[in-house]
Symmetry: D2
Subunit: 391 residues, 4 copies
């Protein structure tokens, strides 16, 4: 099998994407350890995965600067590290992106695709993918959504069947979001798709299409910091029958992702995604589970979470657990993007299509079959992945 894999990133100049690109360049040069990726551990030993050393990047972004300028502005990696890969990053310029004021309040950037219809936009996205493959002589490509969180949106009739969706495209139905257009283009281009954001994209119409086109999809919302720990601590409490009376989660972050979440509608999309995980692990509904996300400027990309868990133990006596995670948003996300790209490529080569439940480990709100409860317990998710990789 050829090792060469292309990644098409939606939001290619964002903090996560530029960290992914800088990281791959640094690791190739031996200037940073290969850490934080499951696909680089014995967990994935023996799996036939694309090599980091031959990965190629493309992608869309509303910003028109190059990836070096973007990475410097995000302040994720130390300046002296970025300077080691200045040439590689400077050479990267994103393609024009599709966007919609209806779904994103604060649309900074001018690198916007301005075409007359949704059909034309999708055609252009597909053409970008085809050109990318040709330019780099690539057989295989994976698309990853890494843009800002879109406003809250619910599934409506236009999203329910592929036929309705296609008709919606024809009439430029404004309930079709940018995230859905990218996914449609991916499926149409036979390209596996990962939704690393909480934006709604995998609606029934497109799931139908993924099965029909035999393309694997995975999502949604990367499980990076607070939720990662939550899905590890909750199983302990279940195991010991320590009853959760309340779980209060606060998050502060100051990057662009945080700024977008200041918009109440985008915030709602995110909080909804973060709140689902607890009850299914515990087996009962927590009476007071709160998740708050606040944009807090001094932090930049260095996100912090503060969790307070009120538990009642033997005889109903009360105790508290507090978990404080001082993390780096993009540093936690970037390796998962690389893992997912490689694993989705593997899934595609195995002929899998539709939802890839074995990748639930990576997501806050794992895609799951209709009518089925997704698995949130981190350790059970780990077993699912292990079983697939060892099969």
């Amino acid at each position: 099998m050829s090792q060469k894999l292309g990644l098409c990133l939606i939001g290619a100049n964002g903090a996560v994407s530029t960290t992914v690109m800088a990281g791959v360049a640094l690791m190739r040069k031996g200037l940073a350890p290969r850490r934080g990726m499951i696909t680089e551990t014995r967990f994935a030993a023996g799996a036939d995965l694309a090599s980091l050393d031959q990965m190629v990047f493309g992608g869309w972004d509303l910003r028109e600067d190059n990836a070096y300028e973007a990475a410097m502005s995000h302040q994720v990696l130390p300046i002296h590290l970025l300077n080691f890969v200045k040439d590689e990053l400077s050479a990267f310029k994103p393609w024009k992106a599709t966007a919609s004021k209806r779904f994103l309040h604060s649309m900074a950037g001018k690198n916007i695709l301005q075409l007359g219809s949704m059909r034309e936009e999708i055609a252009k996205i597909s053409q970008d993918i085809a050109d990318f493959k040709a330019a780099h002589n690539l057989d295989r490509v994976v698309m990853v959504n890494l843009t800002s969180t879109e406003k809250y949106c619910e599934v409506s009739d236009v999203h329910r069947t592929l036929a309705a969706f296609e008709k919606g495209l024809d009439s430029n139905d404004e309930r079709i979001s940018p995230a859905m257009k990218y996914l449609y283009a991916a499926l149409d281009s036979n390209t596996p798709y990962v939704n690393f954001t909480p934006s709604l994209s995998n609606v029934p119409a497109l799931l139908e299409m993924s099965l029909k086109k035999q393309v694997p999809v995975a999502g949604e919302d990367g499980k990076t910091g607070q939720t990662l720990l939550k899905t590890a601590v909750a199983p302990v409490l279940a195991l010991r029958d320590l009853h959760v009376e309340g779980w209060y989660s606060a998050n502060i972050l100051g990057n662009n992702d945080g700024l977008v979440l200041n918009d109440p509608e985008s915030n709602k999309t995110k909080v909804t995604s973060k709140q689902r995980v607890l009850d299914s692990i515990l087996g009962y509904q927590v009476e007071d589970h709160q998740v708050h996300i606040h944009y807090y400027k001094p932090r930049g990309d260095a996100k912090e979470s503060w969790d307070n868990i009120d538990i009642a133990g033997f005889l109903g006596e009360r105790m508290q657990i507090k978990v404080n995670f001082l993390c780096k948003d993009s540093i936690l996300a970037a390796p998962l993007v690389l893992d997912l790209a490689r694993l989705m490529d593997l899934a595609k080569r195995q002929g899998r299509s539709g939802i890839q439940e074995q990748l639930s480990l990576f997501f806050k709100a794992p895609y799951h079959a209709a009518g089925k409860e997704p698995e949130h317990n981190l350790f059970k998710q780990g077993e699912m992945l292990r079983a697939w990789l060892q099969a």
Copy 2:
């Protein structure tokens, strides 16, 4: 099967023991919820366990007051709750305990067994068990060690074979600790034994005896607070390849257990027990893993732990997790004692003997076969227990 089970507690007037006794009395009266015990959840549904409602208590202690007076002094449960079961607790008076200045620095209490030889002490302990069975018409009894942590002690020749040990008893060898004498008496009385403390008791000589006498044993050192969370958080970090550069654990507690741990030799026993868990879960040796335990008077039984975990993720970038557990030592321990007593009784009825590895979940330093690494991962331990219960 008769539901009636007797518990013989070593350290019967301590904070954990009196909480166990008060708790059973309160639950029987419906004045407190049946919470915090695995044996009361669906996890153990279907297992043929002794009932809480017919449990009977006996035990040894250096203190000579009754259990109500002891419980009031420990300040674990609110006064108004203790008063609901004042009669039951007041009726409990402990048997005289065996003790040794060599193994315990601060021996408060006068309720001491003063006999001429180790053999006589053991005979008296066995007699206490026999009398207890007769008085309450009990078929089955379990012994649980809940005393203060003994001073640090290593296995030496007298502990290595049953023959050497018996010879040691004959010559009153001072390397034989009180904990070992109780265990010997338990095995001799065909009584399952649980070591809930980190004190050394299950030496090779007595493991040999447990197999010979066909009695099950389990230990050691109940996994209650900080270590419980540690064995849940560490697997997440392993799963995500977040490298642990250091793990700093501080503990403050102000109960009698804490006071004993102010003695450097007892502290060493405890810290050694707490430090083992990390490396085997992570698969590498953590370069700087520290555990500190400090007696801090204002807290009483309300133990607090503060953990700081330094991790290196993608590209070696550093992040921190801080876990702060405001817990209640005896409230966490008491339900495990009840779980263990019921499960050990089940194991005995199943004809099991020697180390019960399926109970590793309950311990900081699980007993394990010689030459084998014990399982520390909380979730794997949970699976081991589930498998046994469902078999």
Copy 3:
């Protein structure tokens, strides 16, 4: 001077009021230490203050149960302590209270004054005070507002002059809040008034009246937990030129006060009060100062605050301070109420009227002369109080 002082509490069955009453009764009986009150320390030694032993309580509340029932429901003090003063508390029944849906969303309780006009309501409140004095043979009374936070409200024309206000009363102007009616009645009855809440009451019209009637007033919003620490930590940072780049304050509490603050309009009143303190101490505007208050049920009266302070020091290098206060709302507030009542009584006897700036120490948003910045620095506030007491 007679030692006998009457306290008229608005919100007399609330958590703070019942803790004040239970506390005075417990201290009188010698069942609890006289702690937490400045007026009981050497700080106030020599000041001619009314005695705790002869204090008498009256007050209004929407709840009609007695103070023992109310105190049991608030769960501030342990049950066994409350039972020591059950008789005293059971004997207390509040007077009917005035209330307004416009100013308070969640009006629980039926003990409501239902009269035809504002003038009649005020007359009834004044009559309650007069009857209280007569019944207990009191010369001196102080009124303290301890009700729930009213909705956010700004000063408008009806509040600007006493003449306009009086005309507003005549026409039942709905911009006149319950808090203002109580204050009007207090001034009319020659009774010193303390606003321990953030509700707007000391409008220019009533300040004019307090000077005319020669009655002292003090407020607003008792400085109890998070803000207390904030006004102590901020001066350190100013002194060391550690620049505050951001200060994020979260609060969780589960008592009735917290429930009221779930109403966005009441929340706004409170947050506005809490946010003022920082900039004046530091001497510059903090770019990102956030205060969040969330009702979190499991906590009851045991409020918790979590503050994160981002500072830039030498060469602009960044550091963080986190302050976590696990406090008890009413336990912090109750002693300040007693301090304020005694000090306002002293001020009245000294012939002082209008705003009592020397009591700024006790408030989050100290009343201050128009056009003047209030003093927020806790230590300078302490010096102001000391200077007055020693004069």
Copy 4:
């Protein structure tokens, strides 16, 4: 007055010293803000202070590398900042230092003064100062002790009078520490001296000498992180009569300073210095005040403190305050060194000699007249400094 001031740093290649030197160079070039120094704020406006722009550095160290190499190894400042001042730092090479195994366990480095007698060592130190003045044409010099903490040592007869001390020097009395030799040389060279460490140096003999030679001295142990906050929080608790039942302070740090503190005798020196502050502020002895310092490698210079304060308020009810300071040891210390150098230079020009109590603000254990309690309250210390500067 000439603006040119020389600083002689003991431990010139340490983390604090190199941060001082790098900082001054960066500020001069306008590459870093002038922050964190009292002497750069309005607090010191009008005081006739030496300029940062004409400061010159000299000093002694056991390491023989240059200051750039040393700074890179300490990892206090980001690499790209250090590179801006690489030339200035590379040009600095420390003089040979005096040292003693008796007072410092881990003496890394070979740049050691090896002479036959204490008198010769002192003569060499004095000569270094004289040469430094001549080389840079300096009128005024200040010496600052910034070395590692020496082992615990108590005042004995040789330290009590100048006569005894001189005799001790003649006989090479091993109770005379390196810190004392530097101080002796400073006084002998008419050079103001600051002890920024907890090492014992200002013994009665040398205080006698400072008065006789009319040289000002100040110390000891810079008040940087945990203790700084402690002396701000404790006054609040005193003011509100919140009784401190216990105060548990843990510190983790991974720099060379921390490594030295792993030696129990050096640790004792430091802990003793940190423990004094609390009782004098509160006015009573805290029953359980603990200070723990642990070397924790992953942190490097990024020190962290965790304080837990147990308080009893109204009616004896208990609450907790936790303060977590994520700071940078050298970033907090360096600006104080610059403040102290400039203020001591001012004191010298004013003709002051002996202990400079007005600088207590800067120290954990302020030097104070015999028989007098030092002032620890941060805000009172601030007033003392302000009064002096404004006089």
